[in-house]
Symmetry: C2
Subunit: 358 residues, 2 copies
């Protein structure tokens, strides 16, 4: 049985935890807001379920709770942000805000971030552009769990990309996706429900297809979008690589197999070439291309035409990217956020650690 | 048996054909260079094999051989180009050059193109950024052949994306990919060799998986990268949609099912919302983020680490995006470009039409 919690209840708790590890009021607010946007949108693997993970990273000294966020380089349309080892949940909104301000002046803004940590869901950041009539883009590299096509070694993270596009009367188009066939969170769900994975999600340590959701613990790997060469896995590999390069080679963060792990018990790689993990953000002002009203009218037509496409038998309709998450958010704002019993247990331990009520 | 032709032999012929349809010397040179870059890189479906298709589009009045290319809107980092109904093979290099000039000034440049036609391979344009120590990006929408996840209708093209990244001592990273599981050219190869398609490339008119490479003639569709929902086709659909939006909704071109077909015998859609087909280009100056020398050193390390990954048994090595095309280009520059007999026949008919030697 899931337990239902109100957003405010969870917000107050997450805020208090970030405050206890030493974040400023502003940063604790930003971090709680960013983290919980995952729970609101139904991306349960990236939300409050990870709070104890962030705390453990702080305990081993891998998160600086009082980072001095700085622009270390800039041009009219670009910047590099130094996250100073702080929470990605704080560095990412700072960097995205910088991209938006650049776009207001120069038409577009592009910001690469070094020395950061995990930033929650990409959509939380990309969607910041929408109220400004801008297209928002967010991506990040992550701990190496993915084997490129033909590789036995795990060299890439699930490296997600989000693109958020404003519309007029229709809700926005928001595509937020790992560049793998299945995100790691999907494996966690299979483990909890004691099910096998579909073929094409995972390979074992010899590079053979595997259905075992625990395979990564035994040297296996997630597969890039496309699953195998015949079905285009070289494209998923290329997409993950592009995210890695934009986020980390462009900023001076760590890339490929050197990206620091999210779990605190794994050691950092020796000879890391950069600082922390990397992100990349973009904002494009619609009216830097054409009048926003014209664009939105066409975007509405685009959305309606796709939504009204004749569906395959047995499917109610063709979805627009962002539809499922928006519907979940509406529902959860009304009825509350369900948490699985192991997540509640985990949060109780966090509460105890900081003598907080939960 | 394939016939081998030297690059110069083919260049002179293609140049002469574009000149005969009325292109200026400069435009015919650009168009021939762009078209043949596909043959050099081994993307045979997008090169000289399409020359007769361009001629037929000109014959039915769908290509303006003397376009007046114009910037219709601009900011420091953006522009919209009106292709004036001309060859995409000419409008695209013009737009990419504009992006590069914007990037030289503002750090990055982003150019969306309306009222264009097919532009050959995306890599031809994205790679223009490389000698300037810039990352190049190119994408285009295309005739609707692809069904979004759960759709019976074909609403997207194979909508390719290319990202080209300079390195130091290593050759550049060049990922150029259709956002479908298999590009349409792959079906043409199956048809010629009388083979079935692998499962996951095509659906029939009822949305069932099909192995028939002629299925598109009977109302079938290509599938987005990922093939089916369980393997992430909603991500391939989202990528194709992003290309469509950046290329056409942002520029004022046609999008989705309204994109004009490449084949001249298919009618244009009624009530087209925009002009021609659309492209999108980007250029990012490396030193708008960090010193180019530092970036290139890390990019070399990135490339070497991935190339040296332990391969799965039976595979010689892990490839870097762009490796196969670069190797083909080296080989073909030396030994010549092979053309299939039906392509040679087709070109002989083009030669006859214009009283040109071939």
């Amino acid at each position: 049985m899931d337990h239902l919690f109100s957003y405010n209840q969870l917000f107050d708790f997450v805020y208090a935890v970030f405050a206890r590890i030493g974040c400023s009021e502003t940063d604790a607010t930003t971090a709680a807001h960013t983290l919980l946007s995952a729970d609101l949108r139904g991306i349960d693997s990236h939300g409050i379920a990870r709070l104890s993970g962030y705390v453990r990273l702080w305990e081993v000294g891998r998160i600086n709770p009082q980072p001095d966020l700085k622009l270390v380089h800039e041009t009219p349309s670009t910047a590099v942000v130094d996250g100073d080892g702080g929470l990605g949940l704080v560095a990412a909104p700072f960097a995205m805000q910088t991209a938006i301000e650049k776009a207001a002046q120069a038409g577009t803004g592009w910001v690469s971030v070094q020395h950061s940590n995990h930033f929650g869901i990409a959509a939380a950041h990309a969607m910041m552009a929408l109220p400004h009539d801008m297209i928002g883009i967010a991506m990040t590299n992550a701990s190496p769990l993915v084997a490129p096509t033909y590789s036995l070694e795990r060299l890439l993270g699930t490296n997600p990309i989000c693109v958020a596009v404003p519309a007029g009367e229709e809700p926005p188009f928001v595509a937020d996706m790992a560049t793998t066939t299945a995100a790691n969170g999907k494996l966690e769900i299979l483990q909890r429900t004691n099910k096998q994975a579909p073929a094409g999600w995972i390979q074992d340590k010899k590079g053979n297809s595997s259905l075992n959701p625990y395979e990564l613990k035994d040297g296996g790997a997630l597969l890039p979008l496309g699953s195998d060469r015949e079905h285009g896995s070289h494209k998923g590999y290329a997409l993950g690589a592009i995210v890695d390069i934009f986020s980390a080679v462009l900023s001076g963060a760590n890339y490929g197999p050197w990206v620091p792990p999210f779990v605190s018990f794994l050691p950092l790689a020796p000879d890391m070439p950069g600082k922390g993990i990397g992100h990349f953000f973009g904002a494009m002002r619609i009216d830097a291309f054409r009048p926003a009203a014209d664009f939105k009218q066409h975007m509405d037509q685009w959305i309606r035409r796709f939504r009204q496409a004749r569906p395959v038998e047995g499917q109610p309709r063709v979805l627009i990217p962002g539809d499922p998450e928006r519907e979940t958010e509406t529902e959860r704002k009304k009825s509350g956020i369900p948490l699985l019993p192991p997540v509640v247990e985990d949060l109780k331990q966090v509460a105890e650690k900081f003598s907080l009520p939960f």
